[in-house]
Amino acid sequence: MDDSTRRFLQRLIRRIPAQMLKTTLDKWGRLTAAQKQSMDFTEPKWAFTERLLDICEENGWTWKHITELEMTYVIDNPNQGMWYAFQLMDPEDDAHSVELTHFKEQFKSHLSELARPVSVKMKKHADEAIWIRIAWGDSFSRPNHQKPTYVVHHLQTPYVFVTSLTSKQKPLLSQALVLSTRHQAIKDASLSGRKLGAIRDLLMRQYQQVFPTSYPSPLAERNETVSNPQIEKEQAKSAENRLQMACEAFGDGMLPQLQSSVYKLETKFKDHTNKTMTEREEPFRCVVKFASTNLLESLRHCASSGIASTPVTPLLSSIPLKGRNYFIIKDNGPGPSSQTRQTQN
């Protein structure tokens, strides 16, 4: 094991929190039972790392094995860094019959052709997700394992989730994905977040949506916190209506956790009391950002408690409806209109 590999392993162990070390090493599955016994998970990390390095020397492990350990850790703890969603467009006729081994082979060969040298590792997770770890190199150096890109894709769905991708690497990855999934183009889905599960659930509609029904609203039934039958709520009906509309716009129960929503306004300034600004020809550029630990939950609460007017404005309800949290709003006739960011590739 050379120096860079040792340092990489040291940095990786430093990164993994102490309480997750044992489970991550077990899942990695490369240590024998005897070696596992000899490791002391209570000693300080630097001592633990030394012991692990000795075992790695014993077994003659290389980059291949250590990056496997990193991938195991990231798959279990994906919520680090920002994830960006992409959407594949215009499937070919055989896109829906692309199967796993075929996709793996094609992706590896296309990416190796486009970005030589590159180190690609692919793994299928239990929930049908394919995880890809890419370490990029260029004509001067070997693949850089310190800054890998992670890609997650579910076959037969149009969505791809990516983290840690530079703008130089983006066209190479896009081309490889488009060719191996048998589509014609890929575009930015204008959705980003810190939690992979949240943006995935939002796009795949894996949260509880509410639709109007002719039956008594299950929401009203569930929210009956009748503490004292003598107390009567005066505005119960309108509160119920607001709750129904808020849930129809955003969903019911646990909502996917988004952290922010950004609106880039390129509209003309409209304020009759401020003549100088209104007389300007150019649009007034302004960026509005909503941030929260759980944005959709906050917006839903705003609507149901009456802070935001109902029916919910399409500016806010577009977030779950269109599955995006970046909007560009221009003056294109009556009412605001939203457009996608300039398409990539």
């Binding site: 829906h96 019959s97 796993l100 299928k124 769905t157 509609r205 639709f211």
Partner: protein
């Protein structure tokens, strides 16, 4: 004298022999009689049980007809004034069969619930899915009616080709055709998903190697008893409107399996019956572990 003593001993011996033999047959006869008596008793109990069931069923039918008639006549009286537990139970059972029939009627006319929203400008449809008598997920579509029918919101998963289906059928003139095709896709998807779930639950000896979100491909590893070889079964569901595979392929050690009557039977089982039932039959026949 010798003859007399010999006869004495011999006759004694023969008497003992007869005694021993009779002891063997007598208990046999006795046990046979008790067996038959026990069987007769069981059959009598079963007859009583069946008589009681028939009686209950007759009462249920009577109650059911009176309930249906009451619904039609819209009378507000409560018949059956007996407050016994039996009649309460009977009433519940009649109501249960009534609801089941109602659900079935709703199902055979398409099963879609449609309600108007936003003062007639919107329409919300719900498409239930079911497989093998079990209701699975319900999917919803919210449609804007004006200026042209267009889907505003839905919770249909992205691997169902919704936009393709919208293009293929004209929503303005024949929305029913569009809904029927969409319902076919959704029901087939739910059916395949349910079959996969049952395979994982019921057949622990079969390892699912590959499946995908659309449940259109299934690769399983089965083991042959005695030889303990592992066979890879690939099921391709290329027709997404069906719950049964269009192609079944067996592989052993990377090479296609040689033809044999056993595996031909297995192939036709997998092509013609749902996968979890086919696997049960294969196990019963002893073809797989």
């Amino acid at each position: 004298m010798q003859a007399a003593s010999a006869t004495g001993v011999l006759s004694h011996l023969s008497r003992l022999e007869v005694h021993a033999r009779s002891r063997k047959t007598e208990p046999q006869q006795r046990s046979r009689v008790t067996e038959l008596k026990a069987a007769a008793e069981q059959l009598r109990m079963r007859r009583e049980q069946l008589r009681a069931e028939v009686e209950t069923h007759k009462n249920l039918q009577k109650l059911r007809t009176s309930m249906d008639k009451r619904r039609e006549d819209k009378e507000g009286e409560e018949g059956m004034d007996e407050d016994s537990e039996d009649s309460e139970l009977l009433r519940l059972m009649a109501r249960h069969t009534q609801l089941n029939d109602l659900l079935y009627a709703h199902h055979i006319i398409g099963g879609y619930d449609a309600i108007k929203t936003r003062q007639g400008q919107g329409l919300c449809l719900s498409l239930p899915t079911a497989y093998d008598g079990v209701f699975l997920e319900t999917y919803n579509l919210e449609i804007d009616v004006k200026p042209a029918p267009r889907i505003a919101r839905h919770n249909i998963p992205p691997f169902i080709p919704l936009s393709d289906l919208v293009e293929q059928s004209d929503m303005k003139t024949d929305i029913r055709a569009f809904l029927d095709t969409l319902s076919q896709h959704l029901n087939a998807f739910s059916g395949r998903k349910q079959q996969l779930k049952l395979v994982k639950e019921l057949h622990k000896s079969v390892e699912v190697m590959e499946s995908n979100a659309l449940c259109s491909i299934l690769v399983m590893m089965v083991t042959v008893p005695n030889e303990k070889t592992a066979i890879l079964c690939t099921l391709d569901y290329t027709d997404h409107t069906r719950c049964l595979p269009t192609r079944v392929h067996f592989e052993c050690n990377g090479k296609p399996l040689a033809d044999s009557p056993d595996w031909d039977t297995n192939r036709s089982l997998l092509l013609e019956t749902p996968v979890h039932k086919a696997l049960s039959t294969m196990r019963r026949m002893g073809n797989i572990v």
